[in-house]
């Protein structure tokens, strides 16, 4: 006897993958990303065009003669119409050539890509190091707080991460530096003097267990990888404390939502353990929103860490952009802005792909 209401055609071959629709979606998103990037480039260009004052004048100073200024303008190509300049800039940018910096001098041309390249590498290095620490930690903490919701552990983790996200990042950086610096002499510091002696000596002995982390992250080409990681521990710890709360809270909220699903109760009635239920049954259904938040925070690690770079004197791209703005080095500013926009677009694309790949309903057709 067969099922009357059930369509036999639905039961095709067992394991079939639907890669083609996935590829289509990715290509479509990629195309949209390029369109967005193109529009962002126009916005960047126009807003820099709209800045008041004359670049040549401001670089050469008030005392420069009008002839010198005019000659300089011609050298920079400012005598050409804006559209023409934009198109040639874009044509170059597509090939990875962002023009030459305004700090170039005749005979010593400095390509923007050569200035940005090492700085970008530094920034990516710090971002990657932070992500490797922060993302798994945030997801693990989110899962654990969801599992032990309402417990002391949950409240403690929530309170602590909320505290670290509420404090300005430079302040966290300075506190960490303070702890490192005062680790061997906490009892002698002003705070140590104020506290009762047993407490300050206790804190002192805890602090003395901490390694003597470098508080300056000054590096150059000759720095080895190992040294680089050692010097970046404190900056990445700072950034971890800044971004962990957002990701952890999102993980927790999504998981709590998923944990209310009937299939989770079914898991309990099937006699599965709580940890298994959270990691095997709840987490796979929570990746999409978590990926979005992680992408958002990773983008922040690349475009928003200038303050932390300044505190630790780390030569990242954020500092470069700030310096370029100050010195009116517009080609560098434009290139940085374009890279930042591309970062957001690419990371969001990755989050979208994760959302699709982790959802069988989108991956496998009926």
């Amino acid at each position: 006897m067969t099922d009357v209401a059930e369509v036999p055609g639905r039961t095709g071959p067992g394991r079939q993958r639907a890669i083609v629709p996935l590829l289509g979606t990715v290509l479509q998103r990629l195309g949209l990303g390029l369109v967005t990037l193109f529009m962002v480039s126009i916005v960047i260009y126009l807003s820099i065009e709209a800045l008041p004052g004359d670049f040549a004048q401001s670089i050469l100073g008030r005392s420069a003669s009008p002839e010198t200024v005019e000659a300089y303008r011609q050298m920079l190509g400012f005598d050409r119409p804006p559209i023409e300049r934009y198109l040639s800039w874009m044509a170059g940018a597509v090939h990875g050539d962002f023009g030459s910096s305004l700090t170039s001098r005749p005979g010593a041309v400095r390509a923007v890509s050569a200035i940005i390249g090492p700085r970008l590498y530094n920034t990516f290095f710090l971002a990657a190091m932070t992500a490797i620490i922060a993302v798994p930690l945030a997801i693990l903490l989110g899962a654990l707080t969801a599992l032990y919701r309402g417990s002391f552990f949950d409240r403690a983790v929530n309170g602590l991460t909320l505290m670290t996200i509420s404090v300005p990042e430079f302040f966290i950086a300075y506190i960490l530096c303070y702890l490192v610096i005062s680790k061997d002499m906490f009892a002698m510091t002003q705070l140590g003097q104020l506290l009762p002696s047993w407490l300050s000596s206790g804190i002192g002995s805890v602090l003395s267990l901490m390694p003597k982390l470098p508080t300056l992250a000054a590096i150059n080409e000759s720095t080895t990888i190992g040294e680089r990681i050692w010097k970046l521990l404190l900056p990445s710890l700072t950034l971890t404390l800044v971004i962990i709360a957002h990701m952890m809270r999102m993980t927790r909220a999504v998981l709590i939502n998923v944990l209310a699903s009937p299939y989770i109760e079914m898991g309990r009635l099937k006699g599965l353990s709580s940890a298994w239920i959270v990691f095997k049954h709840a987490l796979p259904n929570a990746w999409a929103p978590i990926a979005t938040v992680v992408a958002f925070n990773l983008a922040y690690l690349i475009v928003g860490v200038v303050v932390v770079e300044v505190v630790f004197v780390y030569p990242g791209i954020g500092q470069l952009m700030v310096d370029a703005v100050r010195s009116r080095d517009m080609p560098v500013v434009q290139a940085c802005a374009l890279i930042f926009a591309a970062t957001y677009i690419v990371l969001n694309l990755v989050a979208d792909v994760i959302a699709i790949v982790t959802n069988p309903r989108l991956m496998y057709s009926r």
């Binding site: 099922d3 039961t11 299939y263 309990r268 009635l269 099937k270 309903r361 009926r366």
Partner: protein
Amino acid sequence: MNASKSEPRQKGAPLLQIAGLKVDGFSDDRWHPIVKGVDLRLERGEILGLIGESGAGKSTLGLVAMGYAKPGCRITGGSVTFDGKDMLSLPEEELRLMRGSRIAYVAQSAAASFNPSHRLLDQTIETAVRHGLLGRRLAAARAVEMFGKLRLPRAAEIGFRFPHQVSGGQLQRAMTAMAMECRPDLIIFDEPTTALDVTTQVEVLASMREVVREFNTAAIYISHDLAVVAQMADRIMVLRHGIAVEEAPTRKMLAEPETEYTRSLWSVRAMSQAERPETDTHLSIEGLSSGYAKSVKVLDDVSLKVQRGRTLAIVGESGSGKSTLAQVISGMVPVWSGKMVFEGQVLPSGFRGRSRDLLRKIQMIYQSPDTALNPRHTVEEIIGRPLEFYLGLRGEERDRRVVELLDMIEMGSQFLDRLPGELSGGQKQRVCIARALAAKPSLVICDEVTSALDQLVQTEILKLLDTLQQELGITYVFITHDIATVRAIADQVVVMNGGKLVEQGSRAQVLETPQQDYTNLLLSSVPEMDPDWLTRLLAERRGGAIAAAN
């Protein structure tokens, strides 16, 4: 088979014994008793039917048998003994190891109870593998065998599918296979066929019954439908408001129910309206085709006529296109081809092309009053809004009319300031009816309006709709999957299947002398109050199939 049904197959201590069980549930900031002292005894291999309306405590009772209290519930008294073990004092870890392996659970909504992220086979064998009872390969082989026994198509392959890739009936079978995987002593079936179409329900019931009998598994079968329970259970217990009202062997319960309450459980089946006389055509639909997103065709060449002041019932299973038809009439879904004539004028496709007066004349009542009412609007706002929008009533006139409408739905003015959350399911549906009536419609489309309600409440709502029709002369288009409802209220009946109109005619014609095979199948699949119904039906169908083959 039936002779052994009324007595347990194995003697000795009962498998499950519940005594004086009390459970509290937390809602509205305080604890309410849900189960108020229930005694229950189940022998090995016996099937006990638990029946009652929503809120009777039957699901809670079923779960307590597993030593499990739902979130927001607490066990306050009594004892639960399973196979000599006190389930209420065992440590959680020991209970966990018994769940899924010695006591298994089959949930109402298989679609929601399977994890969408994992393949069916992995979920089926999970407990056996995690509890270390079977190796993966052996467990998988056993699951495939059980898929076959439950008549899942392509048993060897279906396990590699994800839940969204199989139908509801197949999921429910897969869930039964999951429950059977560890060969448990007891299975709790919690309304396992309630969400299924009748024709699917027959098949699923038959395969469940077969497997449970074959392995001599004891079961508690929870349902609100006495006719369904009667096919499965040796013994039936009726629960009401957390108290066991009546308990008897199945045959005795059906033949001579002792309490008034038990008799009322099949009240809708007893209800039947006198057929109203023929009138002129109110709405006619000719060659209508429609669907979604320009490519998914749902309705294919549908033609029908609705007569003024009468009730047309559109019957069909899920996916038959009956709800889409309602949405096309109301203008929510555009017409692809064909035409609709309403009160002598062509009805424009899509609500944007209709005048406000035309919109006013066609109103809808929905299946789920919970989602059809804005939870933050009071009853007065809900009913008052169409009065302002369609009729332009303001101030005192509007307020008076709201109270009038509340009286019409037999509720009264004390409900004016209530929010939907403070009303019962039946009251919410009444408010939905009042909201539709507020516009003074001439045609009301009722889309499965009683499906989400308990039997007794269903009867009340149907009676109310009938009274209103007699007073106001409204035409009803009544969409339903439930044949008992059709029998209760319809003048004309239209049967739909796969987007096509299968059969139409007067109620007597369609229900008593169906001409089409599909109508026959649909009607014969409706469970009857007879414990032998399923056995007889299966024998008949098998006989029919053999005859057809010859």
